[in-house]
């Protein structure tokens, strides 16, 4: 708000040259603001806020798209607790998010530090490691992943050649989760690029000073790199966590839309899709969607709350 006053100041100073009254400019600003914002406002009302309220209502109803919704109170929510497929999908998704995301970020940070060293060819390496992030969520890659991890596939052959238990990962309920997490970790390029940009912002003087003080590489990493990188780490952690809750296409393709074997790839969004758009339990699916929003909301709030303890912003900006 103080910015308003300072922004208006030059105009008043310029008033002798420009005989336009500040009040007129304010009105012009309001009109222009809402005009320029109108596409977003319309989209927000029609495609986000309206549908969110509608799905909040539907969450308390029984609705199949063809007959009018009937109010059932909390029934959809209580059903979740006794729905084994629901509980399994929540468990599978939690495992994927809370195991996959840290591994992915660790890989991203490690490679980013490698690519931050002063050698030639780093730009090319950076682009090459980014390629999986670009294509990883596509149907094409899901098909390839399935072909590689299937019984007698490439991964199976490699396992056989080293004498490990074989049989392929796609059909084995115990191995589908590692397979899906590998697919997620494979796409470490996007957070890596963000880490790398963050690493380049750390002043070299800090490391030089630490060297003079006799700090080794581990201490430099712990006392300089991690704290200086913490805003970027926070950003990556938040976005990757929220993002991985929404994994859909790859699980859909690899399981042929079933979430199998034994519901081991029946991720939350896949089950939501099945209930909503295959079985037309749109009330139940809406309730599921709202639970997801609440869970993601709570996790986001927790991250912001705890970030005060470990995210260090350099003083000049905030």
């Amino acid at each position: 708000m103080s910015a308003t006053a300072t922004a208006d100041a030059p105009v008043r100073a310029a008033a002798p040259r420009q005989p336009r009254r500040p009040g007129a400019r304010r009105r012009a600003d309001v009109a222009a603001g809402y005009t320029f914002l109108s596409p977003w406002l319309l989209g927000f009302v029609l495609l986000t806020a309206g549908p969110m309220l509608a799905s909040l209502y539907l969450a308390f109803t029984d609705y199949d798209l063809f007959r009018a919704p009937t109010w059932v109170g909390l029934e959809n929510f209580t059903e979740m607790f006794s729905d084994a497929r629901y509980l399994k999908s929540a468990q599978v998704t939690a495992l994927y998010v809370f195991v996959g995301t840290p591994i992915k970020l660790a890989a991203a940070l490690a490679v980013a530090m490698l690519l931050n060293m002063k050698f030639s060819g780093q730009g090319g390496y950076r682009s090459a490691f980014y390629v999986p992030s670009l294509v990883g969520a596509s149907v094409s890659v899901a098909i390839v992943w399935k072909a590689m991890f299937i019984d007698d596939g490439v991964v199976d052959r490699i396992q056989q050649s080293v004498g490990a238990p074989a049989g392929g990962w796609v059909g084995n309920p115990d191995m589908t989760m590692p397979m899906m997490i590998l697919l997620a970790v494979w796409q470490f390029g996007a957070p890596m690029v963000i880490f790398l940009a963050g690493l380049k912002q750390i002043p070299a003087e800090l490391y030089e000073a630490a060297s003079v003080d006799g700090a080794g590489p581990l201490r430099k990493f712990w006392n300089i790199t991690l704290p200086m990188l913490s805003p970027v780490l926070f950003f990556n952690l938040l976005l990757e966590t929220i993002h991985s809750f929404q994994v859909f296409a790859s699980a859909f393709i690899i399981s042929g839309g079933t979430g199998g074997p034994a519901d081991s790839t029946n991720f939350y969004t896949l089950y939501l899709y099945t209930r909503g758009f295959v079985q037309f339990d749109m009330g139940y699916a809406s309730a599921m969607a709202w639970v997801l929003v609440l869970v993601v909301g709570v996790i986001t709030a927790l991250m912001f709350r705890t970030s005060r303890a470990w995210v260090h912003y350099s003083g000049e900006e905030n």
Partner: protein
């Protein structure tokens, strides 16, 4: 980086006569380690591309990247299409949707971002906070009511549901990216133009838009690629095969053949990624820089 080099400069001059032997060894080790990691990371991609050139029965379980015998038969099958509909029909549908998405996003996101970044009006801060919140909102909470809405409007099996969000700036990522970019443009430009009597529409069109070029290019590339790879949207709204985009055509093909023709699957999978890879090769700097700045300003 320049400061680091400047700081080291005095020491560098004293050792310039001979390159320290440790430096060469470290360079070699670095490249060997990095290339080895790169080989592992890019193996699935290389395996996919070259498997498309292998005979269909020699794909599963063939660890070698290079085909023993090269064949184009898989591509011939892939171009044959699915259920009487040509591959090029799917390709065109994907292209059309991608281009319209780019147009919609560039139009709506630049305009909305201008309001957020450059105009002062009551409610702006609240709307900006809401926009950031939608950035984190799981899309699944809106897809059911959106489907009900578009279904009752008779818009299933049209491209309208897939494009509405693009023309109405509902994809907050792009608005956010452009706001961040616009905030870094010097304010003196607007102020000078306003003192000269220019209104917001002239400032936007004549000053901001031309300067926004890098952000517009980055957004266009992402908009096209994301539209190209989108699976859930077309899965929900496109039920007629002649409207299919490549990802759902690919899924239909995989589902349809009970005895899998892996060769044709690989060929179609590769063909479906060709535009993405082309975009990447041509615009990689914009893409990677776009991702990088996105995280830093967050």
């Amino acid at each position: 980086m320049s400061t680091a080099q400047a700081g080291l400069a005095p020491r560098d001059t004293t050792v310039r006569r001979r390159i320290p032997p440790g430096r060469i060894a470290r360079t070699v080790v670095f490249h060997v380690v990095t290339l080895a990691m790169l080989a592992v990371v890019l193996y699935p991609a290389a395996w996919m591309v070259l498997s498309a050139f292998k005979p269909s029965n020699d794909i599963i379980g063939n660890i070698d990247i290079l085909p023993d015998t090269w064949t184009l038969a898989n591509f011939a099958t892939a171009f044959g299409g699915i259920g009487g509909i040509s591959f090029w029909s799917f390709f065109w549908n994907s292209t059309l949707l991608g281009l319209l998405s780019v147009i919609g996003i560039v139009l709506s996101a630049t305009v909305s971002a201008y309001a957020f970044a450059r105009v002062k009006f009551p409610g702006r801060k609240v709307f900006f906070a809401i926009m950031i919140a939608t950035l984190l909102l799981p899309t699944h909470v809106v897809i059911i009511p959106q489907y009900i809405m578009f279904n009752s409007a008779g818009l299933v099996n049209t491209y309208v549901p897939l494009l509405a969000g693009k023309f109405l700036a509902a994809e907050a990522f792009f608005v956010f990216l452009m706001v961040q970019f616009m905030r870094n443009l010097p304010r003196e430009l607007d102020e000078a133009a306003r003192i000269d009597g220019a209104g917001h529409f002239r400032i936007f069109r004549s000053i901001m838009l031309p300067l926004m070029r890098p952000a517009i290019i980055t957004s266009s590339i992402f908009a096209f690629i994301w539209s190209w790879n989108d699976f859930l949207g077309p899965l929900l709204y496109l039920k007629k095969p002649d409207l299919y985009t490549l990802p759902i055509a690919l899924r239909a093909y995989v589902d349809q053949t009970s005895v899998s023709d892996y060769g044709a699957q690989m060929a179609m999978a590769v063909l479906a990624l060709v535009p993405v890879i082309l975009f990447f090769v041509v615009f990689q700097r914009y893409l990677v820089e776009g991702v990088a700045t996105q995280g830093l300003k967050g």
